[in-house]
């Protein structure tokens, strides 16, 4: 039973609260180091963006036929990462998985920051970003409107909705904890700051009761988004007739991949976090174990998807499909990346059959890192290796990224890191009330068992 324990130690609620709010009051030097690094990354991001907008998309490696490349790969990658948050908090809430309480805040925050990045790439990707608002339906003097038969307006709708709902969900979950922070803060400034965002929360029975209703409702609404968002993203490709894109398997395949990469990112954030701020009591091996199991499941589903799309390409008998899946990807100009991708995404998760590795933080950390790379490569494979050799051999051409492409990718990671560091520095990183509630229930359970015994 011990290995299932979701909470260690039995310090009082006050002690627990303080230990979980500790990051808000004192900053380890490690934080500063990481912060400086991620700020540097952000600067690179900003400069790459400036360069792109000042000179044009030509500063990237894109060409005809490969009109989409790095930026869209990054976009899909970040969106995918953004899936774990809602999955963990909303999905598991509905499934009444108590263990989510320790990790959902981090996951949600990660979701939001990932989406901030993701949302930026389609905009940058436009040839004339200053006209981005033409994708929104509004009564223009031109009298023309967006075309809702295209999957790109769907994308706009899906991503904005997902971002909004995630943000609302995150904030709603935060309010009681912000109140705790308000009441725990020492400096008046902090008190006021948290006080303002806590909206004057008092924790009255009535507030809690209505709050629970609303929170579950929001969770129930967010859950279908987990499925829909990446399904819609996948339609950006699936509604095209390009071999390698035009595939009915895409929506589930993308969703699985998204959650897969998202969980990997969650682990990459949680593992250092619990170490740095001694959250081991709250974020226990049991949590990591569960996430690892989820990743294993997702990884297997993904492997199945790979197998299926390849099989279907062969089974279709279509020359172009077969060429893309059976030749261009495995043996074409990008074959190396393809095989690295397959190895990372298909083989890596199988280490999680071992219970020991599921609980070994180094193993989890390295595996997650590998999977994140693998998932980026998967999107690259889907986009670039489909485009660079399509129907007419005359238009086939190799694609090579420019420094700006790499700058944007690295920079977005920097921005993500910066936002996340600020988050753990200023926002309660663990859902206090939920953990306390969990403690109470576990305690009562134990008491009950004792009584029963």
């Amino acid at each position: 039973m011990n290995d299932r324990v979701l909470l260690h130690g039995n310090a009082g609620d006050a002690a627990l609260t303080d230990s979980l709010l500790a990051p808000l009051w004192r900053t380890p030097s490690l934080w500063w180091m990481l912060f400086v690094v991620s700020c540097a990354g952000t600067v690179l991001f900003v400069f790459s963006i400036y360069w792109t907008i000042a000179k044009g998309i030509g500063t990237w490696g894109n060409n005809i036929p490969v009109a989409w490349a790095f930026a869209i790969t990054d976009f899909v990658w970040w969106i995918g990462i953004g899936h774990a948050g809602t999955f963990i908090s909303a999905f598991l809430l509905l499934l009444n998985q108590k263990w989510r309480g320790s990790v959902n805040r981090v996951a949600e925050a990660m979701t939001i920051f990932a989406l901030v990045n993701a949302a930026m790439f389609p905009l940058l990707h436009l040839g004339r970003p200053w006209f981005f608002y033409w994708l929104a339906p509004y009564p223009a003097t031109m009298g023309v409107w967006p075309n809702f038969k295209s999957s790109l307006p769907w994308d706009v709708a899906a991503v904005t909705t997902y971002f909004t709902v995630s943000l609302l969900f995150w904030y709603m979950g935060l309010v009681p904890d912000l109140a705790s922070a308000r009441d725990r803060a020492v400096s008046r400034a902090r008190k006021l700051a948290y006080g303002i965002f806590a909206l004057g929360w008092r924790g009255s029975g009535y507030q809690w009761q209505r709050y629970r209703i609303a929170y579950v409702l929001l969770a129930a609404l967010a859950t279908p988004l987990v499925i829909s968002v990446h399904s819609v993203v996948s339609l950006d490709f699936a509604i095209a007739q390009l071999p390698g894109w035009h595939s009915t398997i895409f929506p589930p395949y993308f969703v699985v991949g998204a959650i897969y990469s998202g969980l990997a990112m969650v682990l990459m954030l949680l593992i250092p976090l619990r170490r740095a701020f001694h959250f081991e009591d709250v974020i226990t091996e049991a949590h990591l174990d569960r996430i690892a199991k989820l990743m294993l499941a997702m990884g297997l589903m993904l492997a199945y998807s790979y197998a299926m799309e390849t099989f279907m390409a062969w089974y279709s008998g279509d020359h172009f499909e077969r060429y893309t899946y059976l030749f261009s990807r495995p043996f074409g100009p990008y074959a190396v990346l393809y095989w690295i991708m397959t190895a990372l995404n298909v083989l890596t998760p199988n280490i999680f059959w071992s219970r020991r590795l599921r609980r070994s933080t180094p193993a989890l950390f390295i595996a997650s890192f590998g999977i994140l790379i693998g998932m980026w490569l998967e999107r690259f494979a889907i986009i670039v290796t489909s485009l660079n050799r399509d129907f007419l051999p005359s238009s086939w051409h190799f694609y090579a990224p420019s420094w700006v492409d790499f700058g944007l990718l690295a920079g977005s990671i920097g921005l993500f890191g910066m936002l996340f560091l600020l988050f753990i520095r200023y926002v309660p990183t663990v859902a206090l009330s939920e953990v306390k509630r969990l403690r109470l229930e576990l305690a009562n359970e134990a008491a009950g068992e004792v009584a029963g015994a």
Partner: protein
């Protein structure tokens, strides 16, 4: 009477842990108290029955919000692509229902979610930055590890002689009598939600 600015002569008692509070509230109720409200750092579903909240209208509102969101988004698409400027795009039909489903779905979710979020704050009348319970000594621990119960001074059953003793008997660490004087003419923004 629930969680408004408390009238003069109301009582508030602090408890050390959740189970004590739950027990106390249940017994108060058993003794016929009605104007009761609790304050806790965590939700206490156990007390839902005891405190007899009115059924929430939020789910209904959210449903309406969802329907409205969906309707609006389909209408926008229909207006834009079918009515305002129909175009022949790749020989596809102008009223492409199959295609319009997706933004409609997203609109539904968005509408519902917005209602659920803002609806909650409206129902709870938040933000409310000033509230009389914040005057209670040591109330700052109500969001950390202490559990409060408040009994309205207007409750027929309440009385300065009996109530504090009863609360202490139930294990209250301390009982405070809310001094109504400063509450005179309390900001009326807070309504009488959830009365029986």
């Amino acid at each position: 009477m629930r969680d408004r600015d408390w009238p003069a002569g109301s009582f508030a008692a602090e408890f050390a842990d959740a189970n004590a509070l739950v027990a106390a509230v249940r017994s108060l109720r058993a003794r016929g108290y009605s104007g009761i409200e609790t304050y806790s750092p965590m939700p206490l579903p156990e007390l839902d029955a005891t405190l007899r909240f009115r059924k929430s209208r939020l789910p209904a509102l959210v449903f309406v919000g969802g329907v409205a969101g969906g309707a609006i988004s389909y209408f926008i698409q229909w207006y834009a692509d079918v009515y305002a400027y129909p175009l022949n795009l790749g020989g596809r039909p102008v009223n492409a229902v199959t295609a319009f489903i997706i933004p409609t779905f997203e609109g539904t979710i968005l509408g519902a979610a917005l209602v659920a979020f803002f609806g909650l704050w409206f129902v709870l009348r938040l933000p409310t930055y000033w509230h009389s319970v914040f005057d209670l000594p040591g109330f700052e621990r109500a969001t950390v590890d202490r559990y409060w119960v408040a009994v309205s001074g207007e409750d027929a059953r309440a009385g300065a002689e009996v109530t504090p003793n009863e609360l202490r008997a139930l294990g209250a660490l301390r009982v405070v009598v809310l001094d109504g004087a400063e509450d005179a003419g309390a900001a009326g923004g807070v309504g009488l939600e959830g009365a029986r």
